[in-house]
Amino acid sequence: MSLRGLPPADIFDKALGGERRALGRLITFVERDAAEAETVAELAHERAGNAHVIGITGAPGSGKSTLTGQLVKLLGEAGKRAAVLAVDPSSPLTGGAILGDRVRMEDVASPDTFIRSMATRGHQGGLSLAVPGVVRLLDATGYDPIVIETVGVGQVEVDIAGTADTTVVVATPGMGDSVQANKAGLLELADLFVVNKADRPGAKDVRRDLDLMLDLSHVSGQDQRTGMRPEIIMTTALSGEGAPEMWDAIERHRTAITANGQLEARRVNRDIDEVRNRLMADLESRVDLMLAGQSLAGVAEVLDAVAARSLSPTAAATQLAARIKDL
């Protein structure tokens, strides 16, 4: 029984009925932004909006996959039908990718767990452009919670905070001092901190630095934004120690933002963000076409002038920006 040639609505029905192969194919449509993707998006949109979306983010090697595996194990034991989206980077040179997170999760996950690996496919920001659409699809087909594991991030990949209801930032010993903790970026957007590898020397120092940073958020008034101080949980992902406490903290966060109306506000922002991101991606491909000399006349001359150093990149961008409306 092949899925080939079936209309997307039929495949959607199969996915609703629990057929994993069908859900796998629908995700591919969304990922490729294929002709079927629009139908799938509409069908999913009608049914989505229930699942708790949890983001796990942190530096490469901080233990995100292993922690996600522990989380999924707990959720399976609690009888929940969880899904995981594990995002890894695509090669900027060839578009290829090695997606290696699944193996750390599958052995511990319950058979009901759905795990999908995704490559970023050229998108910056720690996720792939298709992630919100795939989350909606998993939500619509009854998965709850949905755990998104981002690529290993630095300081500026903050997509996840706009995508998840609860953003967990994983820190580990040896990643720098208290100044690092006070720089702007990802750490500001955490709803919950996890200090992983808590059995290693320096874990308590990380906790102290994060605590001090959060104290300063209070002094500067930044914590007024959320009205909540993120909790800090210590874990050792390899042994699973601290994972139940992490899940409890995630649930407390969800309860709190449901009660204070932030959950609804975040979801509205998320949908508007998605509109924006899609428009930006469209614009970006139009700009690429323009620079390749395939849409507007006279662009090659401007770029030649930049190459000959007779025109500055800044001036060239100003000239071309005036013509963006013609794209």
Binding site: M1, S2, L3, R4, G5, L6, I11, R20, R21, L23, G24, R25, I27, T28, E31, R32, A34, S90, S91, P92, L93, T94, G95, G96, A97, I98, L99, G100, R102, V103, E106, F114, I115, R116, S117, A119, R121, G122
Partner: protein, 144 residues
């Protein structure tokens, strides 16, 4: 970004070693070759079961399965993998890489394995074999 991914649908390949076989240099090299050929590799690695591979192909909607075999189990495990995928209704080619003696090649191909890659296969040969095997399945009926 890459020409390969914009013109053709991205090829996704599950790579695994089945059972008790710890020789994983080959599979790591193949993963890198396929990545650099613009494919997405779902890397399962060592000590996988048929069930793990079937799960991965279903959930990842993979286009092909690559099995790395270096413990003389190819005549038993590879055909079982082909059967397990067919039983799950999954139409994906299985490509065997590793050590397959010459006299086993014909019998193994007859069990439904799509291709066999031995030691000394070049990077281009590895990537092209995967592309051809995927095209053979995708081309057999319109891509859903």
């Amino acid at each position: 970004m890459s020409d390969a991914s914009t013109s053709d649908p991205q090829i996704r390949v599950v790579l695994a070693k089945l059972g008790f076989d710890g020789h994983d240099r080959g599979i790591k090299i193949v993963a890198r070759i396929l990545r650099d050929a613009g494919m997405e590799v779902i890397f399962l690695g060592l000590r996988q079961s048929y069930k793990n591979v079937v799960n991965a192909v279903e959930q990842e909607d993979a286009d092909a399965v690559g099995l790395s075999m270096h413990n003389a189990s190819h005549m038993t495990l590879a055909p079982k993998m082909v059967d397990a995928l067919a039983e799950a209704g999954l139409e994906v080619p299985v490509i065997v890489g590793g050590i397959v003696p010459d006299e086993d090649i014909d019998p193994l191909m007859k069990t439904g394995v799509a291709a066999i890659l031995g030691p000394g296969a070049s990077a281009e040969e590895v990537a092209q074999t995967v592309r051809d095997a995927v095209a053979a399945v995708r081309g057999s009926s319109p891509q859903a």
